[in-house]
């Protein structure tokens, strides 16, 4: 069974440029999470979806971040414009009944 797939794996952009990350969750998982992990820290939740509905986006910086999960399957996370402080690993996770599985993440470097 395929796990959570994310792309790209790495992205380097200049500040003020836009960037987008894509996530394909495990088939049948209704819950999808986007996390941000800074170096040496634990992951911090940005947004959680139940099917296509964003049920918790309280931690998402809405002035520059946006996310969508059309049809309740794949999801994209966008940053526009990116700032230097956005450099981090962006992790997508999906969950079934009890267990949450993480993708490989996208390492974003803003220069």
């Amino acid at each position: 069974e395929a796990g959570v797939v994310q792309s790209p794996r790495y992205k380097i952009i200049e500040k003020k440029q836009p960037v987008a990350f894509w996530c394909n969750p495990i088939s049948g998982h209704n819950t999808l999470y986007w996390y941000r992990q800074n170096l040496g820290q634990g992951p911090e939740l940005l947004i959680r979806y139940e099917n296509e509905e964003a049920v918790d986006d309280s931690q998402l910086p809405k002035d520059r971040f946006s996310a969508e999960r059309l049809k309740g399957v794949d999801s994209t996370l966008k940053i526009q414009p990116a700032e230097l402080g956005d450099s981090a690993v962006y992790l997508c996770a999906s969950a079934g009944n009890t267990e949450a599985f993480f993708g490989q993440g996208t390492r974003l470097t803003v220069v």
Partner: protein
């Protein structure tokens, strides 16, 4: 709001020794996760603990949950170098938000 605290944050130990990582959480958590993360890699699910008194073991790792004390432990038996990694525990609040601790960076010396 659920808060998860791990200790120690850094641990350097000799091969063959036993040690325990502690995970305290502040409010009721429906379940407790343990993950392993190798440098530059994503999080690998180790254990999901669902109820008070739950104990799960995989190889040299054993996790337990005491919901009354709001404490989970990850015990390492006869450590080997391959277990060097960062270990995270995470709780789940009533809104199904998964909250992570800061992680325990484990370095096992040969």
């Amino acid at each position: 709001e659920l808060k998860v605290e791990q200790n120690p944050l850094f641990l350097s130990m000799q091969e063959g020794k036993n040690y325990t990582i502690y995970c305290n959480y502040s409010t009721t958590s429906d379940r407790l996760y343990w993950y392993r993360q190798d440098p530059g890699k994503s999080l690998e699910s180790l254990f999901v603990l669902l109820s008070n008194g739950a104990v799960k073991q995989e190889g040299r790792l054993m996790a337990s949950l005491d919901t009354k004390a709001r404490l989970s432990t990850l015990h390492i038996t006869a450590a080997v170098h391959d277990l060097s990694a960062t270990y995270f525990c995470a709780g789940v609040n009533r809104d199904d938000k998964i909250i992570f601790g800061k992680g325990t960076r484990l370095h096992i010396l040969p």
